[in-house]
């Protein structure tokens, strides 16, 4: 059961501002879905390993250098979609 406090906490972790109206709207539907997920409690998963990936993958390494198969965007390309930029940097909101 997701309480109003839980919802406020996960909204904060998710960086999603929710209005009071949103909270009213989301709560019941989230709980209906969560109740449904509760059916997994009845599955015996004792000694079952989790599957994070379906294929036996190992990490892929490459040389730590620019070029080859690495994408190299120019500074202009990297900044081309930034809504706010200054002196060749992304412009972030203030910390405080």
């Amino acid at each position: 059961m997701i309480t109003k406090e839980d919802l406020e906490h996960i909204a904060w972790l998710s960086r999603l501002e929710l209005s009071d109206n949103d909270k009213e709207k989301y709560s019941p539907k989230l709980n209906t879905i969560l109740d449904y997920f509760g059916e997994l409690d009845e599955v015996d998963t004792e000694d079952v390993e989790p599957t994070y990936h379906v294929l036996p993958l190992s990490n892929v390494f490459r040389e730590d250098e620019v070029g080859g198969t690495t994408i190299t965007l120019t500074q202009d390309e990297a900044l081309s979609n930034a809504p706010k930029k200054q002196d060749g940097f992304f412009k972030a909101p203030g910390m405080m």
Binding site: Y26, E39, E49, P50, V54, L55, N81
Partner: protein
């Protein structure tokens, strides 16, 4: 307007790619389906002219194609049907786009979809719902609804979608076209904007298995920029043989469960019997964990989504609201930019990963995923392919399920197990009910696309469902 690749090539040879592209653009321009978010008319015409002057012999030289709007196209808007990516122009091409360009394909536009591929009906698009060409009072399915509607509506001969939990196969089924979810790792995800990265694959859509295989050959293959891309050489078109003699078909009763429409059940069984008349044999198989696939899928998909969508903060691209402080600005950008379903999945995914709930939801779902994967491994010890309905029912009405998320999720009951196991599955038209198409899926072993393509091709060669076209568009 529903020409095959071969017919189009003859016309390109006789006339020009430019003429064909112009015809499709005209059809898109007068369409009521809202299948496209962006149409690149000028770009497509100028590319077609280039192909005409080069006399290119690429596999798709001069053939128009539409691309789901979550696949990055250099210089062409890519929005994921979300307000938060409004105006975003990728500075690079996805691997599949590089491949298509090398093969001479002409990218005609970007197709409508559920926002960030989260949906089953293409109703959550910021750019408005797409419509089903067979009946515009029905949804086209989702999330690649625009890609399927465009092909079914004769607005483009080929398209690409992406399939995280059925998002290629569902709209293929609802719109009466062919759609493939390949084995995880067969098509590079480089440039696909991630929703749930351990589940999703880019997949081709077409009006026939033959055309689908041609497109699949172009876009499949190893790419070192996607660490989950598999290095295997295959040609799929050459697998197309009109022959299923000795093929062992498994039929999992769990996929014909409660809520399956009678007409769907009958059409799929008729299809199985057609394949038997052609020399295949069917046997029942048990997949006892199927009923838990939906919960496991949604927990994993939402968890991965909550992480993957953390990148949308208005700093490097997309929407930006007025700045206050660091955290508040991001929270406001995301509140303004994401739609309701995307927020719901981020919230639930964050909950499932949060301290105290991680083991109960996320880890548990991953363990159930192992059991589902084993169901498939066990079934494939005895059979070559599985045949089942793609969707439990034909296309539903707009608004019918969208306000009840759980009932919408339940539509995915037959498609999500495939993504959890990472196996390939193709949806092909196998009947009609009330004027709406029905699709069946042919599911294969890991990397055995050849067998499901051959099965689908043989079915198609011996039936005419795939030749039916919607009227009155």
């Amino acid at each position: 307007m529903w020409a095959s690749i071969n017919e189009l090539k003859e016309r390109i040879h006789a006339d020009s790619s430019e003429e064909i592209v112009a015809e499709y653009l005209e059809r898109i321009g007068s369409s009521r389906l809202n299948a496209f978010i962006t149409v690149d008319g000028d770009g497509a015409i100028s590319r077609a002219r280039e192909i005409d002057s080069e006399n290119s012999d690429g596999a798709l030289a001069g053939i128009p194609i539409a691309i789901k709007d979550n696949i990055s196209t250099k210089g062409l808007f890519t929005t994921c049907a979300s307000h938060i990516l409004k105006g975003y122009v990728p500075p690079y091409d996805a691997h599949v786009i590089e491949r298509l360009k090398e093969a001479g394909a002409v990218i005609i536009g970007k197709t409508n979809m559920d926002e960030f591929a989260m949906g089953t009906s293409t109703e959550t698009s910021f750019y408005g719902a797409a419509k089903n060409p067979w009946n515009t009072d029905r949804v086209p399915g989702g999330s690649s609804g625009g890609s399927a509607a465009a092909v079914a509506g004769g607005e483009v001969p080929l398209s690409l979608g992406s399939d995280t939990g059925g998002s290629v196969r569902c709209p293929a089924s609802f719109c009466g076209v062919v759609g493939l979810k390949p084995t995880y790792g067969v098509i590079s995800r480089y440039g696909l904007i991630s929703y749930a990265n351990s589940l999703e694959q880019i997949g081709p859509l077409a009006t026939s298995v033959r055309d689908l295989a041609t497109l699949f050959d172009v876009v499949a293959g190893h790419d070192p920029r996607d660490s989950t891309s598999v290095d295997r050489k295959s040609t799929y078109y050459s697998a197309l043989k009109n022959d299923v003699k000795g093929l062992k078909i498994g039929v999992p009763a769990e996929y014909f469960g409660e809520g399956t429409d009678e007409a769907v059940e009958k059409s799929v069984w008729d299809a199985i019997h057609t394949l038997e008349d052609l020399g295949a044999a069917h046997t029942p198989v048990n997949m006892p964990h199927t009923k838990y696939a939906l919960s496991a899928y949604y927990i994993i998909a939402m968890s991965e989504a909550s992480s993957n969508l953390a990148r949308f903060d208005g700093m490097r691209y997309g929407l930006r609201t007025g700045d206050t402080n660091w955290h508040t600005t991001f929270s406001q950008v995301r509140a303004a930019g994401f739609g309701e379903e995307v927020k719901r999945r981020i919230l639930l995914g964050t909950y499932a990963l949060s301290a105290g709930y991680h083991d109960r939801y996320y880890l548990k779902a991953l363990k159930v995923r192992t059991l589902i994967k084993r169901d498939f491994e066990r079934a494939f010890n005895d059979v070559d392919v599985l045949v089942a309905p793609t969707m439990p029912y034909p296309a539903f009405r707009p608004g019918e399920k969208i306000d009840d998320p759980l009932s919408l999720y339940l539509s995915d009951v037959d498609t999500v197990p495939i993504n959890l196991a990472g196996v390939p599955s193709i949806s092909v038209p196998c009947g009609f009910s009330g004027g709406l198409p029905i699709g069946m899926q042919v599911i294969g072993k890991h990397f055995d696309e050849a067998t499901i393509l051959r099965t689908a091709y043989t079915f198609e060669e011996n039936t005419d469902y795939h030749t039916k076209r919607p009227e009155g568009l």
